[in-house]
Symmetry: C2
């Protein structure tokens, strides 16, 4: 015994190898809790992205406005698809909504069959980061355009439109706010993945 | 048990200490390579965010434009600070630039003193995600406003300005493109952190 311990004490390497093997097979302490939080956040993400898309798509308002070249005011509609920024917003949030639905189902299946959980957590984390970039940029794009609609810009003579299309702007503002919430949920999902990877909890 | 204690008694306590001390400093297979990639990406992030800020801040152009109410054309300047969206862009990218510089120094110190590496990788990953959200949203905001400047929007009668302020718009477009590149670098940084946490390489 003493003879086998001496080289280990001198070099230190062989003992370390066996110790490093232990953690992977070891302790998933709160894997179920962790996946429950994951499922809750994914449900929030699904609900918020769906709400953001629906609120944006239903943003329609028609007002009687004097158009240059016409003597009398005529009905002029305002729709989200009049702005490429808002179209990008709807497409990006729709992708995020579909993604959240798929990962919600997969995350639920990981609770039922924990065999898949370690596989899912890594791929979820990778995809969550990309979807976060997409949703954050879409929120910024729509928010930037909505701000011009609300305040205008006198330097380039872009007039504000929210004094006329009040309900339309309320929809846009609400949708951007919900999308901001979805971005925060995505940040929390990535942080949860990073935390679980660090703690080696497969969730 | 007594036999294993004997060598400890011979050399004085350190057997237990060395066993517990070895894993952190011991087995990282490609930790140095991994941190080298981290440093390279952080340098790219620093360079790109700095370039984006500089290109945006130097976006100034004065043109002779007819202003309503004045009979003759007068010089009208275009600056980034005429738009709240572009101000937000500069602030967000400046924060990202400062952050990248700090983490670049810390990442370099982790190569020199690997003791800190396991601590850094977790906190870097958390902060990288938040900075990614910031940079992506700023890119979207500036991109959305730049697109209106380039194409205009006939529905709300926002005229395009890039046909007049060509150099100004070139600066804005370049800055947004560089910022998009910085967003991709940030995504890669987060993916590297997730990968290293999964593979348990402290980088």
């Amino acid at each position: 015994m003493a003879s086998t311990d001496k080289p280990a004490a001198e070099s230190g390497e062989p003992v370390v190898l066996t110790k490093s093997e232990v953690p992977p097979s070891g302790p998933p302490p709160r894997a179920a809790d962790c996946f429950a939080v994951d499922v809750a956040l994914r449900f929030l993400l699904f609900a918020s992205t769906l709400a953001a898309v629906l609120v944006m798509v239903t943003a329609k308002q028609t007002k009687s406005v004097t158009v240059p070249g016409f003597p009398t005011p005529g009905p002029v509609p305002a729709k989200f698809n009049h702005s490429p920024a808002l179209i990008y917003f709807v497409v990006a949030l729709s992708v995020a909504c579909l993604y959240s639905l798929i990962t919600l189902v997969l995350s639920l299946s990981a609770i039922l069959k924990p065999v898949y959980s370690t596989l899912f957590v890594f791929h979820f984390a990778l995809l969550d980061v990309i979807i976060l970039g997409l949703v954050a940029s879409a929120t910024g794009t729509a928010g930037g355009v909505a701000y011009i609609g609300l305040k205008g810009n006198s330097h380039v003579r872009w007039n504000k439109v929210c004094n006329v299309y009040d309900k339309f702007c309320q929809h846009i503002g609400s949708s951007v706010a919900i999308s901001l919430f979805a971005s925060v949920v995505l940040v929390l999902l990535v942080l949860l993945s990073i935390y679980s990877l660090r703690r080696r909890i497969p969730c």
